[in-house]
Amino acid sequence: MPNQAMPTEAAVLDALSGVRDPELDEPITELKFITELRVAEDSVDIRLRLPTPYCAPNFAYLMAADAREAALSVPGIKRANVVLEDHHTSEEINSGLAAGRGFKETFRYFEETEEDLDELRTIFRRKAFVSRQEKLCRALLSGGYSSAELARMKLGNVPPSEALEKYLSRRAELGLDVSEEAPFLVNPDGERIPEDVVVEHLRFSRLTRLSIETNSGLCRRLLATRYGIEEKERA
């Protein structure tokens, strides 16, 4: 087998950086949820950990399943073993993933679960969108834009920034128009926010952003305490 076809750990890590905690809207790599990553030929072993043993099992499953899928997307990787450590549903999730079972099947011993996780994922994609939009609006307002101007802006008029990139990616995930001509300020259904309710809209969006950020701070701290790792204070 030619050497250049061998997948690297860096390549897998890069793929994993695209997996986000749906609740916190941050990459699992930045959240320090990955404790081990080992590539051997065409297979990879990945270990995940979470801030508490009672972190919501549905999100735990999503992250573990997404991590597996991301790893398998790396050229040359044919097998990905994902293990979730120290969680009250570790057994179910690990055996479910190893057997390639879906979410419903994985938890069938707990209780019948009628639907899949698509709806849940959508709820949190909407929250992430709202939060990223608010963050961007805050930056624009402090940069001198008025709320009326925000309501009239098109995506193409928004000055480039990292906050804009993140907003556009969350917006695209919801299947909303991200072309330059599309209105900038829309709700998660893609409907334009009228000028006279921009303030109210942002006021409520701010709560979503605050919730996610507070939760993220709490989770980072819990993880740091649980595993004795040093936590860098974030601004």
């Binding site: 609740e23 508490t52 919501a56 805050r138 709560l207 701290r221």
Partner: protein, 343 residues
């Protein structure tokens, strides 16, 4: 009572426990549960208030009396039972466990109870007997609790409503709701507080106190509280941010004052996860940072007095000493504009 700079504060700790999370009493899920609590304790307490793990698992009557009343400034503490019989076979913190202390110091504690809607009709009769025995005015409901095959329930389930009707009938008017990660329904967000909305609309003469102000779903909680005047926010879990993340704490309090008003926010330590002493001291000293005051205003001694004790005193008909100023309820928030120049 706490006094600082000539201001006096009557303190009601709205959420305390006397639990048994010791190895003699837990199974593997119980162990993870108390570990989880200990994680919260360790992560958010100032260093000088950290307990060793074994003390945290089971502490003494002396500890609770000392921490709440001798040094913690608490005038009244409300026991909020958490049964968790599937995790702790002897009960984690049941009405009967709490009653041992509550009945010994009746002027110090208010004893709440709980109900288990999945026990159906038989549980309903048992609940009534329990009320006859203890005469409580409030219940604490933990919708994430396991029971046999069920891994959680919702407030607007049929049997839950039957129990809420019973609460109405018995004059149990304060319903504390604790959201935690449930297993069922797995495909839903376990922290979702939408079920509170349903029952708050239906049971308008009951008060629904959402513990930890709905965190991590503050936005959903505020949305409901704006529409339902009988929905309150308990500050357990949010309080300790005052130490580790004061700017987030300022924003949480600021948002609660904006969406709910100052009469519907209740102080709580969640003892023994955190201790009231430092929380009360820091809260009385706390002010919204200057650069946020344009958005959130400031916290006056009257607002702090309401949050620390007067609001809970109103819900539980607790007599407040005359030396404590008692500002009238406002029942309407000020409406600051979203700033053109945000923080």
């Amino acid at each position: 009572m706490y006094e600082k700079n000539g201001e006096k504060y009557f303190v009601v700790d709205g959420h305390v426990h006397f639990w048994d999370g010791s190895p003699q009493n837990y199974n593997k899920y119980g162990k993870m549960f108390i570990d989880c609590f200990y994680g919260y304790h360790s992560a958010l307490s100032p260093e000088e208030y950290l307990w060793p793990e074994d003390k945290f698992q089971k502490y003494s009557e002396e500890d609770i009396m000392h921490d709440l009343f001798e040094i913690g400034y608490v005038d009244k503490a409300i026991f909020q039972p958490t049964y968790l019989l599937d995790f702790f076979p002897g009960g984690f913190n049941t009405t009967a466990q709490d009653a041992v202390i509550a009945e010994k110091y009746p002027d110090k504690f208010i004893l709440n109870s709980s109900f288990e809607p999945r026990l159906g009709e038989a549980g309903l009769a048992e609940f009534e007997r329990k009320h006859e025995r203890y005469g409580f005015k409030g219940v604490k409901l933990y919708t994430a609790e396991w029971h046999e095959d069920s891994k959680g329930w919702k407030l607007n389930d049929y049997w839950s409503k039957r129990y809420l009707e019973k609460c109405q009938e018995l004059g149990v008017k304060n319903i504390h709701v604790h959201k935690g990660p449930t297993i069922r329904p797995l495909n839903r967000d376990a922290f979702d507080v939408a079920d509170v909305d349903h029952v708050a609309t239906e049971f308008t003469d009951l008060n629904f106190i959402v513990e930890h102000v709905g965190l991590p779903r503050l936005e959903d909680f505020c949305w409901i509280a704006v529409q339902e005047p009988n929905v309150y926010g308990g500050l357990a879990v949010a309080m300790p941010f005052i130490y580790s993340r004061p700017r987030y704490f300022a924003q949480i309090i600021g948002e609660l004052l904006y969406w709910l008003d100052e009469d519907r926010i209740l102080f709580a330590s969640d003892y023994a996860i955190w201790q009231p002493k430092w929380l009360v001291e820091m809260f009385v000293d706390f002010q919204i940072p200057e650069d946020m005051q344009g958005e959130y205003g400031t916290l006056t001694p009257d607002i702090k007095r309401k949050i620390l004790g007067l609001n809970a005193a109103r819900l539980y008909d607790i007599e407040v000493p005359s030396e404590i100023p008692q500002p009238a309820p406002v029942m309407a928030g000020t409406e600051p504009e979203y700033p053109e120049t945000p923080v």
